[in-house]
């Protein structure tokens, strides 16, 4: 074997080792891995705003500090407005809980009677007892695992505190980090690495930014629509609809389910007109989102086949529960975009 080829193998081995060590470190310190990734998302979202301020003649650091001050002010104001509303909804919900319980019992008993009337010989279980048993078990579990939830909340708070700091450094010196990594590329592949990293980062950045804008607008539109028709808990349902929107095809259903439950256990009794209004709100939001917002914000570059979505969501749910279901589709899209860009470049460089 030639000396050059041996060197090549040793070099490849070295880089592989470095990559493996990096992955192992990142995996073992999960507590830092998640803030790093979330901070990267925040960086993608804020980068255009920093660039905009910079083009207005501000220095990058001044632009960054200005942007952070604006965000803190806006977030503070939003919390000031939204928090009392959320608290009111939560208080309202707990005050109405016995009533909802009674409504649910009435509805489920009625359903059971209806089934028994049609099929007198069928062994229909007591739905209400089943649901009650389920929630009782859940609440007992909730109390048992309260310390766990408290510690989770504490670590979430520490993540929330560290993320903006990491994002700040990403925004200030992100290009230097990229440049330092490019130093490690072998001379022969330097140009390919430059173009590839730029294209992949650009595509992923555009996709994530688009998804977040899309989810935010669906959340806001749904909340406003539901508030206009006078549905209680419009804010919580709006937030669920916005988050659910990260999952294509299933997103609208995820937002609709809680709205449907609220209609079902409404203190005024279930009404077909109320249901129709909710359906109109959801269809209108989906129409506006599908026609105007999604094509502009995300584009058609990452169309996934419905089967991929269903399989992905199932696997995501199995691995990471609801959070897994929410993030698996954006992750699949990121991998898809990365592979597409890599394929086209490796072809141009005659590597594959």
């Amino acid at each position: 074997m030639q000396r050059g080829a041996v060197n090549q193998i040793i070099r490849c081995g070295f880089y592989l080792l470095v990559a493996m060590v990096t992955v192992v470190i990142l995996y073992s310190i999960k507590i830092l891995f998640f803030p790093l990734v979330i901070a990267l998302l925040l960086k993608f979202l804020l980068q255009p705003a920093v660039n905009f301020l910079e083009t207005r003649g501000m220095r990058r650091l001044t632009a960054l500090i200005t942007l952070y001050l604006i965000i803190i002010t806006v977030a503070g104001a939003a919390l000031f407005i939204v928090m009392p509303l959320l608290m009111k909804e939560a208080r309202n919900f707990s005050a109405h809980l016995p009533l909802y319980d009674k409504m649910l019992e009435g509805a489920l008993v009625k359903v059971r009677e209806l089934i028994l009337q049609k099929f007198p010989s069928a062994a229909v279980p007591d739905f209400y007892a089943l649901v009650h048993g389920f929630f009782e078990a859940k609440s007992a579990h909730l109390i048992e695992s309260l310390p766990h939830y408290v510690s989770t909340a504490a670590s979430m708070l520490s993540i929330a505190a560290i993320v903006p700091v990491i994002a700040f450094f990403y925004l200030a010196d992100g290009h230097l980090i990229q440049k330092a990594l490019l130093r490690l590329a072998p001379n022969r592949y330097f140009e390919m690495f430059v173009l590839l990293s730029d294209k992949i980062l650009g595509a992923v950045q555009a996709f994530i930014r688009g998804q977040l804008i899309d989810a935010l607008s669906v959340g806001v539109m749904t909340s406003i629509g539901l508030a206009l028709i006078g549905l209680p808990y419009f804010l919580v349902i709006g937030i669920i609809a916005g988050l659910g929107n990260l999952i294509p095809y299933l997103g609208p259903v995820i937002g609709f389910i809680p709205a449907f439950i609220v209609i079902l256990v409404s203190p005024l009794g279930f009404s077909a007109l109320g249901l129709l209004k909710v359906i109109i709100v959801f269809v209108t939001v989906q129409f506006i989102e599908g026609t105007f917002i999604y094509p502009l914000a995300v584009g058609k570059s990452v169309n996934l086949h419905p089967l991929v979505v269903i399989v992905g969501v199932t696997i995501g749910g199995m691995i990471g529960g609801i959070v897994g279901m929410l993030i698996i589709i954006p992750m699949i899209c990121v991998v898809k975009v990365t592979l597409e860009v890599m394929y086209s470049y490796l072809k141009q460089y005659s590597i594959i």
Binding site: T55, R60, L176, K179, N187, E191, L195, Q348
Partner: protein
């Protein structure tokens, strides 16, 4: 210790000043102020090459221009029969590959290192980011590049005219 990552974060200031002096000599950057040159210097990629190493190959997508701090680069083009024709040897303190800053088209020739070389790469993505963040500076560079390209176009036209005249002369000679 010659560690690329370490030396990236901790490098002597005189190296930075000598790079800025080098950039001032080049027509792509000669209209830039010192402050603007510092911004460009921050994004340059320092690369070390051994003789015979390929900087880029003909036909591959071009990523940007290279400033030669040290060493010589041979520009070669494949001709019929699979042989290489040396078009030029680019000396120290000059640059090559600048067309890739304007368009990511395939490289028209290969660049191969003749003597041990230190090159500074300035990539198209770097220029695009500069254009997003500091349009004034980006436009200055693009204007300089346009001047270079237009001068080269005039020169090519002159060469073409000469070749055409020579061709006509030969045709006439053959007809007689």
């Amino acid at each position: 210790m010659d560690n690329p990552v370490w030396s990236f974060f901790f490098r002597p200031p005189q190296e930075k000043m000598s790079n800025i002096a080098l950039m001032k000599e080049l027509p792509v950057f000669d209209t830039l102020t010192n402050g603007e040159l510092v911004q460009i210097e921050r994004v340059l990629h320092e690369r070390h090459y051994a003789p015979g190493e390929v900087v880029f190959n003909e036909g591959e997508p071009g990523a940007g221009l290279y400033i030669i701090k040290k060493g010589e680069i041979s520009i070669r083009k494949k001709i019929a029969g699979g042989n290489d024709l040396q078009l030029a040897v680019i000396p120290e303190r000059s640059f090559f590959g600048e067309l890739a800053l304007l368009d990511e088209m395939p490289r028209s020739a290969s660049a191969i290192v003749v003597t041990p070389a230190i090159l500074y790469g300035f990539s198209k993505p770097d220029l695009e980011h500069l254009l997003e963040r500091n349009q004034r500076l980006g436009i200055k560079i693009i204007l300089n590049l346009s001047k270079l390209v237009s001068r080269r176009l005039v020169k090519s036209n002159e060469n073409l005219e000469q070749v055409q005249a020579e061709l006509n002369r030969l045709k006439e000679k053959e007809a007689h």
